[in-house]
Symmetry: C2
């Protein structure tokens, strides 16, 4: 295992400290229990708290800031945060209008956030993200997994909270964005979890894992390598079947790298996916391309499509100032 690491125990807290050092104008660190929060707190607005296993960076800590999250709780690598982190973060960032907890649909995360919810004595609601069309249930999940669509949900709901939407409006928008968002991914290689020090899965030199999860968990099937345009068509097919969009519909396309795929390939995928979606009669009007929801150093990528309405477009376009999303 070749990684920049001192010890498995220090990786998550030291990395969080390094993120906050680089963005001390935006972020502050709570060391125990560990969470990252906005340096300048909100007032009189709904606060957003998310979290999940580490190893998916920049998700979630890279999205703390104006117009997005108020706090992020990193667990150990690919391990849910503990309830104490979530409770302490929610109490810290609560600005009097309640807290929305944003949870990717994994068994561990659901349990931790549910326990935190039971312990919290402030107004709060929970928003579940489950955008992955690849599998109905998985080794880590009952129901669809939450993957790269989480960034879209956090961006849009964060903008609504910043604009003064109340807790129920934030939750309703988040549910609508999640229901309008579908993802599908593919991997060429496995990540290596530091604690395990070996690849999560073995894969042959000419093989791809179609529908892979963001912890390297299995997808739909293995198959041999294909040209990029064929891969794009294969990923878009189940996404389009799931969303069932009328021609002319406005969509946001998110090309997400899993960590080990160069940007030159992600931009190629963006060109091919945009062209194919236009051939399907859709209006691709917003884009996000980059490594946003990663699986450590896994090589591969996912495509995410969000069917837009006018409110979602406004919320997407609204100002955001975080380490990894900024406009």
């Amino acid at each position: 295992m070749k990684k920049f690491i001192n010890s498995v125990d220090d990786l998550v807290p030291d990395s969080a400290a390094g993120l906050v050092m680089a963005h001390a104008d935006l972020l502050a660190l709570n060391e125990d229990p560990l969470f990252i929060h906005r340096r300048v707190p909100k007032r009189g607005l709904v606060a957003l708290v998310s979290g999940g296993g580490s190893g998916h960076e920049p998700l979630h800590s890279g999205y703390v800031g104006h117009g997005m999250l108020d706090a992020a709780c990193p667990g150990l690598v690919f391990t849910a945060p503990v309830p104490d982190q979530i409770v302490a973060a929610a109490q810290r960032v609560d600005a009097g209008q309640g807290v929305l907890l944003i949870v990717k649909n994994y068994a561990g995360d659901c349990t931790s956030f549910q326990m935190a919810s039971d312990m919290l004595d402030i107004d709060h609601l929970t928003l579940l993200v489950n955008d992955d069309v690849a599998v109905e249930n998985s080794t880590h999940t009952t129901g669809r997994r939450g993957v790269a669509g989480t960034v879209i949900v956090e961006k849009m709901v964060g903008a609504a909270a910043e604009a003064g939407a109340d807790l129920y409006e934030c939750k309703a928008l988040g549910d609508r964005v999640n229901a309008s968002t579908t993802s599908m991914g593919i991997a060429f290689s496995s990540c290596i979890v530091p604690d395990a020090a070996a690849p999560t899965f073995d894969i042959g030199e000419g093989e791809m894992e179609v529908g892979v999860g963001i912890h390297g968990e299995p997808g739909r099937h293995r198959r041999s390598m294909m040209p990029a345009d064929k891969i794009v068509a294969m990923l878009l097919e189940p996404i389009l079947q799931d969303l069932r969009l009328e021609r002319g519909r406005q969509v946001l396309l998110h090309v997400n790298g899993f960590g080990g795929t160069p940007l030159i390939e992600l931009h190629l995928l963006n060109k091919l996916a945009t062209d194919q979606l236009r051939e399907h009669g859709l209006q691709v009007q917003r884009w996000l391309v980059g490594n946003h929801t990663t699986s450590l150093e896994m090589a591969g990528a996912s495509l995410t499509l969000t069917a837009l309405d006018d409110e979602m477009v406004s919320m997407w376009d609204a100002s955001v100032i975080t380490p990894s999303l900024r406009w």
Copy 2:
């Protein structure tokens, strides 16, 4: 070779098209000869043109926009752009105050930009970046190589040009930033150039290439893996020897990933490097952490230090609106 690719010939132009699609508000594409330029041209200001082999994305095309480059000319992977690209780009973005050509010090790039310079009939100057302290000469270079410090130079000079500095002032600032900037990198794995379809170099399971170049070219030596804090100390030592900074000096620290190293590790490196620089009596006051100057999917990272003066701080802090650097 597992990559998202249709054909080696289409990769660079299609990827450039994908970048421009995702940022159509900022960028425009010139297909033949290939270059990326600002959608809204400057007026009455110095224009900046850079370029180099593809495979280092987001460098340079991801830095075209307000406060940074006016155009970027991508060559084939790890191959200099041809002079026609550079000439056409300079002619397109010239806004009446001359063009500064920013060149990383590699033999191929120097030749192409020199030929372009000979062909150009508009005012222009050339700025050479050679921040890599690892080797004096290399397989690709006479003199030090230009690596991740290029982003720092392009950001600061871009801000100066936007603020109305003339061509000689831009060149002088760029020379000063370059002379104040030193980098050193390390690799755990090789990249795979699509045209070659095999790793550029072989490296053992427990080995690191110390002082690696951004094309996978050899550095100073091979050695066995070390903990992250020891790697950071090993990279900082030649950087600090080269810059010879007095205690209390303000510095910018840039932790750059080569493409295959997860953000969680880059943020860990940032924490360790910041701590060590502070122990050396330096004031780390600005940071840039991420995959900015990459070598396709190579696992590894470099550290870059810039000794700041007040003008450089102002130029760093000035507004920038590009796909990969924005504040």
